[in-house]
């Protein structure tokens, strides 16, 4: 699959998709979005890159293997439940700080453990989706 239009479009679209995926992730607590959806969007970005420039390139651009993202995501999600334990609350109880970070596109984002949990979900979803697509695609080349 070698198409000039696809390649040119990917140059613009992939960064945009990744940006949108982050917006979706961070605004998810108040507006439609969240880690799952954000992760899927990010995964489509990687896949678009793969179709435009070849899966190997896309893999290389990810810098870490998908398995790493899966493991990291699970770890982050599980770890986000721990602070509550120190507070004497049950595992995974949401704790919020009073800090909120102004972001220009996703509104004010409050910081708290559910956000960290959502980031974990985001990473797992990217990891699994790209892992599966890469595996199927490699089959093609074999």
């Amino acid at each position: 699959m070698d198409s000039l239009i696809l390649r040119a479009a990917a140059q613009v679209l992939v960064p945009l998709q990744l940006f949108i995926s982050l917006v979706l992730l961070f605004r998810g607590h108040n507006e439609p979005g969240g880690g799952f959806i954000g992760g899927l969007v990010a995964a489509t970005a990687v896949i678009l890159l793969g179709f435009a420039q070849g899966m190997d390139k896309a893999k290389a651009r990810m810098r870490v293997p998908p398995q790493f993202l899966i493991g990291m995501g699970l770890l982050v999600a599980a770890a986000s439940g721990l602070p509550a334990l120190f507070d004497g609350a049950p595992f995974l109880t949401g704790l919020w700080s009073d800090l909120s970070v102004p972001t220009f596109v996703a509104g004010k984002v409050k910081l708290g453990t559910p956000l960290i949990f959502d980031i974990g979900v985001y990473l797992v979803v990217i990891g699994i989706t790209t892992l599966m697509i890469f595996s199927f695609a490699e089959e093609d080349e074999a």
Binding site: G28, P32, G35, V41, P114, D118, V124, E139
Partner: protein
């Protein structure tokens, strides 16, 4: 105790590493640990008359009433002393026995792990904690029996012991939970006081039978006795420790522990004494004619366990005292004899009695220990064994009704034991020397230290029974009976019926010993009877289970994707129709009046794509049309105010399409293989599901549609700092579910990856060929 247990378990974990550092001296040093336990708890036992029973409590799972509490009374402390004292000697012995074995460190780890479990078991004050330690002993004994895991025999014996004791353990758990319900809690001290309530409750019979199932499997009572001789596949130190002194007495311990709660009824006396009696005789009879030293001893252990159970079944003061003394005696002599058998095996290279003789000259120390233990086993003065046997007969004579039956069975069993004692402790050491695989010489200190100490104690306690009568036996019997008892043991009682019985027993024993050749022939003639033994039953059951598992796997997991899908479709359709028929509340149907034009358009698009996907003559077209259906559904979500769902549906549908296209690449060319009939069948099934789902959706309105739920979630989700209810539910309210889901997702993804990798590997291999 908690501290002691933690130390033992931590040491067990560290044992392999420590052993690497310490080398061969490890055995002696490791022994310091149980020796320390022995000293500390020995002191507790001596102080018992002043302190009374002590309970130590640590909360564990308070919501379930489970405490890590420990009880020190005569009974538990006696067992602690047996376990730690004999344990220390066994550790020393293993140091010598397994010298140079590459996995000696692991062996010590298992042994200490077992010791810790056993200590926990006997001191536990909470029924459920007791159960957990009980299972831990089964588990650690599995590891020890299967220590030589390269041998198939070891593995199967270990599994057999595990299964038999676990099955009993499960029954016991049920019994203990019932007991907790009836007795109002799992605290043993509290239960000991509420024996009458338990005995009068309707659940008494099931409780008793279930608990007995646990005790009888663990203590190898007939018909569960077969695992014990099998367990002789373990290294000898294990046999000496687990299968003589400790684990198998756990069942006896349980009977003794719960004696004040459960005993005293006709059912208890009937069941427990019968099992004990049958086991006593079975063990003794099966021991006859065995030639392998360890198997011989194993069967006598079965018999001895029968005696203890029998005595607890009788349950009189005298019987409990006799059981306690016999427990001590048996632990001392059986530990000794097993260790002696191991030492003989170690030094000569054989355990076959027929191949051994005249070892007394080359192994004098071992022979002396064996002789003392043999005397104890025969119940001859001046050993403690003599006192024990006198007590035993006295207790049996006291029983009203069938005393003579008990006595006759006892005399025969004891006489058989005497002949075995002669075979094990006498024959190998006297007579002419014989050629053995290895040139025999005296065993090293580590191998005779344990036997000499134990056998020596048997002699000392026999000569000076005052050392243990009140402090040990009295304290234990008091705990078992739940009331204080006085007793004074002495070697000489004058000429009594018991003394006469002892004489008869010895005479009969000598006869049996001399006739052992004949008895062996007889046993060989009876060998075909084994086909009806309980062990065959166990094998048949195990085989049957494997066969059944294979059959139902073949039935359910046939490997045809189309039938799997068909099963799912049929069951889903049936379930929906059933549900509609049962729970239909008869409310209004979903109104179909105010349909907007674009909704009709989407509906038509879905319908047309569906028909197209079915009729399409190519994979790609089908897949794309399915994608169209997915997008249309997403559109509906968007129109009805579920933006999160719509977004997700769009993305998932896109990714599915990409994946399917990638997969399609590998499929063979599109073909129609199914015939007309199966296509019609599929159409009917799928149409049925479609109708079912449609009806379900239309009826969905008939249920209550109060706004309570949405309002509740809106309010709660704002409290949780979010306006997007879906997301708040996912990452906060039900975060644990989500964590579980992404874990499943991760495992599934890795599974796909692994499967594809595996396939590719196979391709390559084929290509290489």
């Amino acid at each position: 105790m908690l501290v002691a247990l933690l130390v033992v378990f931590v040491f067990a974990t560290l044992a392999p590493a420590l052993h690497r550092v310490l080398g061969n001296a490890g055995g002696w040093l490791f022994a310091l640990l149980p020796a320390g336990v022995f000293v500390v708890f020995g002191h507790k036992l001596l102080m018992l008359p002043e302190t009374g029973p002590i309970v130590e409590r640590t909360p564990w799972i308070p919501s379930l009433g489970i405490e890590l509490s420990f009880l020190y009374d005569g009974l538990s402390l006696l067992f602690v002393l047996l376990i730690s004292g004999i344990g220390a000697l066994i550790v020393v012995y293993s140091g010598g026995y397994l010298r140079g074995h590459p996995q000696q460190g692991r062996f010590f780890a298992f042994l200490l792990f077992f010791m810790g479990s056993m200590l926990g078991l006997v001191t536990a004050e909470n029924l459920l904690a007791l159960f957990i330690f009980w299972e831990l002993t089964s588990l650690s004994s599995y590891l020890l029996i299967g220590f030589d895991h390269e041998k198939a025999k070891s593995r199967s014996s270990a599994l057999q012991a595990l299964l038999v004791t676990f099955v009993g353990g499960q029954a016991m758990l049920a019994g203990l939970i019932l007991l907790g319900f009836v007795g109002g809690g799992y605290s043993i001290t509290a239960l000991l006081a509420s024996g009458d309530a338990v005995r009068n409750s309707a659940m008494y019979v099931p409780i008793l039978l279930l608990v007995l199932a646990g005790a009888f499997t663990k203590s190898a009572q007939t018909p569960f006795h077969f695992w014990l001789p099998g367990a002789m596949a373990a290294p000898t130190p294990v046999s000496a420790y687990l299968h003589s002194a400790t684990m198998v007495t756990a069942g006896v311990f349980l009977l003794a522990r719960l004696h004040p709660v459960l005993s005293g009824t006709a059912l208890w006396v009937g069941v427990v004494t019968t099992f004990g009696l049958v086991t006593m005789v079975t063990g003794a009879v099966l021991a006859v004619g065995q030639t392998d030293l360890k198997r011989l001893l194993a069967y006598t252990t079965v018999s001895a366990l029968g005696i203890m159970v029998l005595l607890l079944g009788i349950g009189s003061v005298l019987a409990v005292e006799a059981a306690t003394v016999f427990l001590v005696v048996h632990s001392l002599y059986k530990g000794t004899l097993f260790m002696v058998a191991g030492a003989v095996d170690h030094e000569t290279g054989t355990r076959d009695v027929a191949a051994l003789g005249g070892l007394g000259r080359v192994m004098p120390v071992t022979a002396a220990a064996a002789a003392l233990a043999g005397l104890a086993m025969c119940g001859l003065p001046p050993m403690l064994g003599f006192i024990s046997k006198e007590l035993l007969y006295e207790a049996k004579l006291e029983v009203t009704g069938w005393a003579w039956g008990l006595v006759v069975a006892g005399v025969v069993a004891n006489a058989l034991m005497i002949s075995v004692a002669g075979t094990v402790a006498g024959a190998p050491f006297f007579g002419k020397g014989k050629e053995t695989p290895k040139r025999a010489h005296e065993a090293p200190v580590s191998l005779w230290f344990g036997p000499v100490v134990l056998a020596g104690l048997g002699l000392v306690f026999g000569l000076f029974p005052g050392l243990i009568d009140m402090r040990v036996v009295g304290a234990t019997a008091s705990a078992v009976l739940g009331e204080a008892v006085e007793l004074h043991l002495s070697l000489w009682h004058g000429v009594t019926p018991m003394l006469i019985l002892s004489g008869v027993t010895v005479a009969l024993g000598v006869v049996f010993y001399l006739a052992r050749g004949r008895l062996q022939e007889l046993r060989l003639k009876m060998a075909p009877l084994n086909a009806f033994g309980p062990e065959r039953g166990y094998e048949a059951l195990l085989d049957g289970m494997v066969k059944f598992a294979r059959l139902q796997t073949r039935f359910l997991q046939h490997g045809y994707l189309r039938y799997y899908i068909m099963t799912i479709v049929i069951i889903a359709t049936g379930a929906i129709f059933l549900g509609l028929a049962w729970v239909d509340s008869g409310g209004p149907w979903l109104p179909v009046s105010d349909v907007r034009p674009y909704e009709v358009l989407i509906g038509l698009a879905i319908f047309a794509s569906g028909i197209g996907a079915i009729l399409a003559r190519g994979h790609l077209v089908s897949v794309v049309l399915l994608g169209v259906i997915g997008y249309c559904v997403a559109l509906i979500f968007a129109l009805y105010g579920a933006p999160d769902l719509a977004l997700t549906q769009f993305l998932v549908e896109t990714l599915m399409l990409v994946m399917l296209v990638l997969v399609l690449y590998h499929l063979p060319k599109f073909q129609v293989l199914s015939d007309r009939r199966s296509r019609i069948r599929d159409a009917v099934l799928c149409g049925g599901l479609g109708v079912a789902v449609t009806l379900m959706v239309l009826r969905a309105m008939s249920g209550s549609r109060s706004m309570e739920l949405p309002e509740y979630f809106m309010a709660k989700s704002l409290e949780a700092q979010g306006r997007n209810v879906v997301n708040v539910i996912l990452v906060d309210f039900r975060a644990l579910d989500t964590l579980g889901e992404i874990t499943v997702l991760a495992v599934a993804g890795l599974g796909v990856y692994a499967l594809l990798k595996l396939r590719r590997g196979n391709h390559k291999r084929k290509g290489g060929d």
